[in-house]
Amino acid sequence: MMKILLIEDDQVIADLIVKGMKEAGYMIDHMTDGLFGLSAALSDRYDLAIVDLMLPELDGLSIIDLVRKRKLNLPIIILSAKRSVDERVSGLHHGGDDYLTKPFSFSELLARVEALLRRSSHIVEPTTLSFQDLTMDLLSRNVIRSGKKIDLQPREFSLLEYLLRNQGNIVSKTMIMERVWDYHFDPGTNVVEARLSKLREKVDKGFEFPLIHTVRGLGYVLKKQD
């Protein structure tokens, strides 16, 4: 079982993360100050750390610096209320692997955690992705559902690929914008929604059950409705 270290001094946010991660099947330890956090991070018992930047005793960036000085490959997600591009760049520059701005949605944090864990655990990249009766061949770029070929535009293909890679997890609008379009901001109007309804028409329309679901207020998920 994967072990996650959370270094966060805000009790409400920490409770949300701890509860959510446990439900998602992870073991998680929570430290409330920078020094305890650092010693835990250096203990080599964790597969991933979630670090807040503003901490008592020792700030998040220093923790990351010290961890990286020890040449530890611990994947680190930075949580911060500072949202400027400069802050993000400086966080990643110090050795953070991902950066999430507060307030955030838990499902987004979870998806980022899983993506990082997948990346660091060196799982061999599959050439086909599949979910239920849907298969996607990444090499030939063919998408087949129940034996029927589905024609997708390049962007629709990337979108479906992203949903397939995160199957069962809710992915937020922001994450889709970032990963599928490389847009690191919210354009306001829900352009993702429009694109997804096009995709739904091709992937779900005329089939036995829908695969793409909207979770109001949170995002989208690829799952089979119970």
Partner: protein, 484 residues
């Protein structure tokens, strides 16, 4: 030390000007007096020397032409006519024996005939002039040879010179003492005149600081430099008043726009708490709340982003950004949305148009403009997006057949939080255009709303734009040198 502490250089500009003025006046007067004094003294000396030389030459002539008896008579004559207190004469042999002399009692410091003879011999001169003192008066003396063995020595008090120069000194002192206060007074008057403009500006600044934002300084009766200062000051005050009123309006707008989602969140929670027991309702309330929170967050982030973009007056040149690709991506992003509204979205994009700058902010700028076009164009409308190079600029034109912008509002649409009345019903926070313009300006370009849409003289290279375009935004950015 003690003195230094007590007499310190004045800090007030007026006092300094006064000091400078008074001291330069006195210095000038001092110089004038000094020159006059020197000139007069020199002239007196020269006149006296000439007189004495004439005397000696006359005696020499008498001796040579008429002999010793006439010379003695002439000397005697001088002894009898001149005042012995102010004049002396002595005729002696070169070995020192006096032949004839005036009353020399009371004269001290006279040189002996023999030493005078020696001086004349060593100087190889006909005459020898030197100055001595007699009863605190200056006496000019002269000595000369009448013949090989006769030497004449005479001298005269320079009382006229002393009197005149003393008078000059006295008058000067009187003038000087009267000039000092006059100089200070004139200096004060002039300096207060010179700094009066500055004082007025400073008074105005006080008034403005106390809240009278409309207070301005009068321009009349000042020198050019002060008028320039006053003009600049008044311009600055105008700018401040404008900014403050804008800020006031903006704060009102922010409060209004933030209040609405908060009101909805409150209503949602209240409704579900007071009426419902069903878990389904709670879930719906929670997701509604999330949506409203995201809206609030988006607005807050946008406000900060606009401030950031505006503060970065010039974006640091980071990379070559392919504007063609960026525009194409942005159009592609909005394609499905346009399709659902059955809007015809056509593009004419020139290839390989690139600018130097920040990819993400440029991306966002384009997205905002296209977003607006899609948002404010009704169903079955038309949007045209073009990218072309015009001289040194890359020009993006976004035209739509949307609701358009009424003339009186055209000036204001780039203001933060400004929303046309017609657009109030649409979702949005009124920051997109201000953000976009800040980004364009940070890249050395600008965004303009074309004054008269649907005029054919538009920069659009393709004339496919129909006459019905209601709003046309033109973004021009300095293009970077193309690399193939």
């Amino acid at each position: 030390m003690f003195l230094k502490n007590r007499i310190s250089y004045p800090t007030s500009l007026a006092a300094r000007l006064t000091l400078w003025y008074a001291s330069s006046l006195l210095l000038l007067f001092g110089l004038l007096f000094f020159s006059l004094y020197v000139a007069m003294a020199t002239s007196f000396d020269r006149e006296m020397n000439e007189d004495l030389l004439d005397d000696v030459e006359e005696l020499q002539d008498i001796y040579q032409e008429q002999g010793i008896a006439s010379l003695l008579r002439e000397v005697n004559q001088e002894i009898l006519t001149e005042d012995p207190d102010h004049f002396f004469i002595r005729l002696s042999e070169t070995n020192g024996n006096a032949i004839l002399q005036s009353d020399l009692s009371g004269w001290s410091g006279l040189l002996a005939p023999y030493s005078l003879y020696q001086i004349l011999l060593t100087h190889e001169d006909e005459f020898y002039l030197h100055r001595i003192k007699h009863e605190s008066l200056e006496v000019q003396t002269i000595t000369g040879l009448i013949s090989d063995d006769l030497i004449i020595y005479l001298g005269e008090c320079m009382e006229a010179k002393t009197e005149v120069l003393t008078l000059l000194l006295t008058v000067s002192l009187v003038v000087f003492t009267t000039l000092l206060p006059i100089g200070v007074l004139i200096g004060r008057w002039m300096s207060s005149k010179a700094v009066s403009g500055i004082k007025e500006v400073s008074r105005a600044a006080d008034k403005i600081a106390q809240g009278s934002l409309d207070f301005r300084v009068d321009l009349n009766a000042h020198g050019d430099e002060v008028i320039e200062l006053i003009q600049k000051f008044n311009d600055m005050a105008d700018q401040i008043r404008k900014l403050i009123s804008e800020m006031r309006e903006m704060t009102d707008n922010i409060a209004h726009d933030l209040r609405s989602p908060l009101a909805r969140i409150r209503a949602i929670s209240e409704t579900v708490l007071s009426s419902s027991e069903a878990q389904q309702d709670y879930k719906k309330a929670a997701s509604d709340t999330l949506e409203e929170c995201d809206r609030l967050l988006h607005m807050i982030n946008m406000t900060l982003d606009v401030a950031e973009a505006e503060a970065n007056v010039r974006e640091p040149i980071t990379e070559d950004v392919n504007l063609s690709e960026l525009t194409e991506d942005a159009c592609e992003l909005y394609c499905p949305l346009a399709e659902t509204k059955q809007i015809k979205l056509s593009t004419h994009l020139e290839d390989n148009c690139s600018v130097r700058g920040n990819k993400h902010t440029l991306q966002r700028m384009l997205t905002n403009l296209i977003d607006n076009a899609v948002k404010y164009t009704p169903e079955h409308g038309e949007i045209l997006i073009e990218l072309c190079r015009s001289e040194n600029d890359a020009v993006v034109t976004i035209a739509d057949t949307g609701i358009g912008i009424p003339d009186p509002e055209k000036q204001r649409i780039f203001d933060r939080f400004y929303r046309c009345d017609q657009s109030r019903t649409q979702e949005g926070c009124g920051l997109g255009l201000s953000y976009s313009r800040a980004v364009a300006r940070a890249h050395g370009g600008d965004i303009t709303l074309q004054a008269q849409p649907s005029v054919s003289a538009s920069p659009l290279s393709h004339s496919s734009m129909s006459a019905a375009m209601n709003s046309v935004f033109v973004v021009s950015l300095p293009a970077s040198v193309m690399r193939n």
